[in-house]
Symmetry: none
Subunit: 230 residues, 2 copies
DNA sequence: CCGGGGCATAAAAATAACCTCAAGACCGCA
DNA sequence: TGCGGTCTTGAGGTTATTTTTATGCCCCGG
């Protein structure tokens, strides 16, 4: 999440809705408002990071909304309600809500519970696959910043690694001297063609079976270099 | 989970403890009981599926227990407490608790909230952390905050321990100077690279057989450091 | 057949990053 | 207030990396 998390507030009473809005905005969240269950469901399609739901809605039940939402979304749902009966809580929680606050509740507690719910969501969402590039005997593990040739780890210096990264990320494509120099060394070095010769040589030496006859790190005479996968 | 989920109950009052035990057993859970924070931490190493914690413990604070647990475990923690002050709730939730119930609470609500917590944990899946990490002669016991080299305990200062923790938790990965400094010392120290050199030196001195030729605590020049398991 | 451009390779020089040691500041505790 | 442990800071020496310099190859055109 690179921006402020977005909270969808579903609450029919304008007064409370505005109160929640300002509370959340004060807590650093972006806020989306819905006054009815129908509108809430509508807005949920915009994929908010959390839903703050008042159970006492006029049209249709908040419970039903929870269930409908859970059919396709795992967004955290924090319920607030005037009704503090145990059976209400159990029903809401079992319907898919993640937390249940009884009015009146404290602002700080609400914010703390929202933090908890977002913490959970972040853990689930964060399970991204690790990017690993493999071709022939070469393996580049970007997550670990490790490079292997035939299962033997090869140590690369920062510049060597950067250069290889750029080439591998655009595998198959020809990259001009200028492009490579800009990516690895920065704009100011865009004409230092000799750097490339030196570093390509080092990479070939470390990665290629026969550095003089490279299989992957190819020269495109007069233009630049190219990484050729298997 | 092919068996009944195991709940660790940490509660000093025998009466309440027994009550919770029978309630949970009635709900189909296996139960582990601990009467003190110390015992709780001990039992937590057995990797229960959920921790039910009473904040009003005699020895040490329940809050501290929560934080200690969170250093290495992501087990859901449901707090029950006689204290219903908002600041208590916020503190517990921010320390890492997943839910907070104020006594007196209903049995059905407790069970429902436990179901919610287990639902979350199930979604995260097999991300269970081992309470102790072992590789070669090195053993790190996160539950007890103890470190051993060849079965001999080694004393680490707080910063040394934190640094080692971060490295070990991401074993194999290269961690940049910035990342490490942020984790251990905080954002404000993100450029104090020299700290890392000093502390890595101390860790090597204490943990490595040959500090000048480290086997696990490796330097990635120009980038950061990496813990390499066996 | 010579000379120049583009490329490859090796190795020296310069620079940057790192390690070690140790003194002094700081903090919690008796 | 003094003590022990820990953290912070600095200086000097070492190692790794980057940059520069030098040399040779190959191909092509004059």
């Amino acid at each position: 999440m690179n921006e402020a998390p977005m909270v969808l507030v579903i609450e029919d009473e304008p007064q409370i809705r505005h109160f929640l809005h300002s509370t959340l905005a004060g807590g650093g969240y972006r806020v989306l408002e819905a006054a009815t269950a129908a509108a809430g469901l509508e807005y949920a399609a915009r994929q908010p990071d959390l839903v703050l739901l008042d159970l006492g809605l006029p049209d249709g039940d908040g419970l039903m909304l929870t269930r409908r939402l859970r059919e396709w979304s795992q967004v955290p749902i924090v319920v607030v309600s005037a009704r503090g009966q145990e059976q209400d809580k159990v029903a809401a929680l079992d319907a898919g809500a993640d937390d249940y606050l009884t009015k009146p509740f404290g602002v700080q507690e609400l914010l703390a519970r929202i933090r908890v719910a977002l913490r959970h969501a972040a853990r689930v969402g964060g399970a991204v696959e690790e990017p690993v590039f493999t071709t022939g005997a070469l393996r580049v593990d970007f997550a670990h910043r490790q490079v292997f040739v035939a299962d033997r780890e090869v140590h690369l210096t920062p510049n060597e690694y950067k250069l290889l990264s750029v080439l591998v990320h655009k595998a198959g494509k020809v990259l001009t001297h200028r492009q490579l120099l800009k990516e690895v060394w920065g704009l100011a070095y865009a004409n230092e063609n000799h750097y490339l010769r030196v570093y390509m040589g080092q990479l070939r030496h470390k990665l290629e079976a026969d550095p003089a006859r490279p299989a992957h790190l190819l020269t495109e005479p007069g233009v630049g270099y190219r990484f050729k996968p298997e």
